[in-house]
């Protein structure tokens, strides 16, 4: 999977790049407008991560506009510090598929990227399989050893988030923000995720699944089959 990362802040670009490489992506960086525009138009990528504010005479929105006239099916996620409502709307109007406001969690970016690529490449029809767990994202249904598992919407989102970020320490705040969406800013007490995690683990274990969820003391959780 080839990703074009358009981001002018070198350290942030390095973080994202390292993270995505570890996930097995090929990451091509572009740090200014002309490079970004050229690469976006000339080469084919599975997804573009686009920052709006760029040096070099144009914005990320211009890149998206140019790209979308050539390849309307291209997958685009905007990553921007500008959370101005009109930017977001303009971006989505230009054909961006998703919008992440800085600062964001890399695990959140990862989950959104995976969901987007799945939608693009398999029309969402491919199942996510992890040992005895099988998730059908189209129907939002989960099977353990081919037995349908009844999950609440939040438990389902939680499981998908874990599956997207396997073997990785997920901070409590990152999980809470994933479950609450953009309005997570409003709340400051994230204890509620304990009960969702507890219930999810119980439901999985009850159907004969090993407990893949590990608590990382004081920090968060890890979903993994090793250890």
């Amino acid at each position: 999977m080839k990703i074009l990362l358009i981001e002018d802040e070198p350290e942030l670009a390095a973080s994202i790049s390292d993270f995505l490489k570890a996930e097995g992506y090929l990451v091509e960086p572009a740090s200014d407008f002309p490079t970004a525009l050229e690469k976006a138009v000339v080469y084919q990528y599975d997804c573009l991560l686009v920052d709006i504010n760029l040096p070099g005479g144009g914005t990320g929105l211009d890149v998206i506009r140019a790209l979308k006239t050539l390849r309307p099916e291209a997958a685009v996620i905007i990553i921007s510090a500008r959370n101005a409502l009109d930017d977001r709307i303009a971006g989505l109007d230009f054909g961006a598929d998703d919008y992440l406001t800085k600062p964001f969690h890399l695990s959140e970016l990862n989950a959104r990227l995976k969901a987007l690529l799945r939608r693009r490449h398999f029309g969402g029809s491919s199942d996510i399989v992890f040992h005895e767990i099988r998730v059908n994202p189209n129907h939002r249904s989960v099977y353990v050893k081919e037995t349908l598992l009844d999950l609440t919407p939040k438990e389902y989102d939680l499981l998908l988030y874990f599956l997207a970020n396997q073997h990785r320490v997920l901070r409590r705040e990152s999980i809470a923000e994933h479950l609450l969406g953009d309005d997570a800013d409003q709340m400051d007490d994230f204890n509620f995720i304990y009960s969702h995690i507890k219930n999810l683990r119980k439901k999985l274990v009850d159907l004969g699944c090993p407990d893949y969820v590990y608590a990382v003391y004081g920090i968060g959780y890890k979903f993994t089959d090793s250890k």
Binding site: L12, A81, D188, G218
Partner: protein, 426 residues
Amino acid sequence: MKLLHKTQQLFFRGVLPVFVAAGVVSFFTLRGVFDHETDEKLMGVQAEIESYVQANDTLPAFFQTVFDRWYAERMPNGSVKNTSGQTFSDTTLFNKFENEMEPFRQLRFPVMIRGQAWRVSVSTSTVEYHDVVLILAVLLTTVFALLLLVMLWVNRVVSRKVWQPFFETLEEMRRFRLADHAPLKLSPSSVEEIQELNTTLENLAHQVRQDYHTVKKFTENASHELQTPLAVIQSKVEILLQDETMSEMQAQQINIIGQSTQRMARLNRSLLLLSKIENHQFPAREAVALKPLLEKRLVWLEDFIAEKRLELQIELAEKTLETNLFLAETLVTNLLTNAVKHNISEGMLRVTLNECALIVENSAASPEGQVADLMARFARGNPHSEGVGLGLAMVLEICEQQGLGLEMGFENGVWSAAVFFKKSVF
């Protein structure tokens, strides 16, 4: 005080004393003239009597008409010296023709007849001229009053006409919104000062708009500048936390860096939003149905409500409000999240929506009683809470902008916030 009233008042204050003074002066001048005439007349009579006495060596016959009379009396011998010269006096005498007492002017003077001193009194009635003066006074007052009224009216009409462009300018200024895209355009005036005022205001508005856009741009850039390093820190924290060789203690420290970064990012976002609201950057208006907004937010909050085991009392009527959708969402979100955040375990949360108000009540510990404190930026109800405390400041600002009434209070362990849809309700 209105400008027109003010000019009227000043005009009135200026003209009235002049009129009163003019009235008083004319009155006394007239009276002086009349008095002088009367005295002349009496002195004429004196001269006649004196020449009669000189010629005939005796007094003329006593004389009395309705208006004039004279008589003489003998003076005691010893008082001759004292009786030299004239004395004028005002007195009242009985008018036997009219059968009543009337005011008279009297002149007394001495005459010597055959070595005998006589004192002669000559009087003339002043009833006539008293009447004249009275009529004149009434006439003057009426004329002055009428004149005053006419002048006030003219002044009013003229002022209104002269100040018309000023009021137009004022109205334009009132309608002027910084966030509007059109520059301020005032209608030209033929009055030099008004034109000058308009030009000055237009320049000022232009300058302010420019500054405003600069500031807006600056806040946006500041947000960008700030969010990017925050994003860098956060991403590095996340990458570091994946390092399995790190000790648990180190991981915890790094996690705390991550938490603080997140708080800072949240604070930055809230401040930006508040400044946007304060800058009137959400001018669009539409009919907003409040019930679905509240229901959506309550569903969103269900985890927090469940965690605190709150007792819900929800009573929502259908109500639409002409307002900005985003602001209405922000208002509802802040009121509800606040009520949940500051609630106590197993407390109560009551949300009532009816035709005239949205009322959110919740159980709370006492520190929230300080409404004013809570409104202030950064104030927090609970020192252990990590909430930013900007929520209520936002609520206040939105209510003010959208013409909504807001009342808050703490009583018997219940904190309540009521938003009235018509400000005139209280």
